[in-house]
Symmetry: C2
Subunit: 104 residues, 2 copies
DNA sequence: TTGACATGCAACCATTTGGTTGCCTATTGT
DNA sequence: ACAATAGGCAACCAAATGGTTGCATGTCAA
């Protein structure tokens, strides 16, 4: 879980996930196109995404195809964000009350 | 949005949010209790959470009360995770197909 | 078979991050 | 009034991070 959060913390990595979401199964070079970053930098980001299990790769000859794995993202939603949804209204109400009390 | 992802990337910060979720409106010292970290380290984390708007503080005399703001977390769920939920099954199916093709 | 293409590896670098310590300031209870 | 309490500020530090460059390797196509 921690690896996933860490992987998602970087904007470049999130945009790589966006790219794969738009078109799955891209090669490294395809993913580099139009990015203001060296190929090696992209490689490093992809390795981090792989280690977080957000991306799975398949070698096909000299090419490496990258596939989005949506499961960890889904788990963040289910296991983490959901927890804070419960009690969200209570927390918001309390926050509002305290902020109003402050102005007295 | 980026600030929120960055803030959530650290496990200590996520556990501070957990603590506030369990009991809202805690002081700095209360939030420090039982943590293997100096008070100043906790302060730094709380500042980052405040800057990401995940925590709102209210001074009350010499005490500073910390309140959880669940809105940014909710937004991550709505604006970001949701996007990947759409097409999740398609992505999973494609991933499965490619992984099977590999073994041929 | 050999040159071009796709990717991998390693060393290096600056900046950010997460933490510490020491001291200062403000508020409160007795 | 004053000691204890709650928190703030600043300097410092090691390690992690995000990036670079140069070169090596593996695969394909002419």
């Amino acid at each position: 879980m921690d690896e996933v959060f860490k992987a998602l913390a970087d904007g470049s990595r999130r945009s790589l996930l966006d790219r794969l979401h738009a078109r799955n199964g891209q090669t490294l070079n395809e993913l580099c196109e139009g990015l203001a970053m060296s190929r090696q930098a992209v490689t490093k980001h992809l390795v981090i995404l792989e280690e977080a299990n957000l991306v799975t790769t398949i070698r096909h000859g000299r090419e490496k195809l990258h596939y989005l794995n949506p499961v960890p993202i889904h788990q963040i939603g289910e296991r983490w964000i959901r927890k804070f949804e419960r009690g969200k209204l209570a927390a918001l109400g309390e926050l509002k009350r305290q902020l109003e009390k402050r102005d007295e």
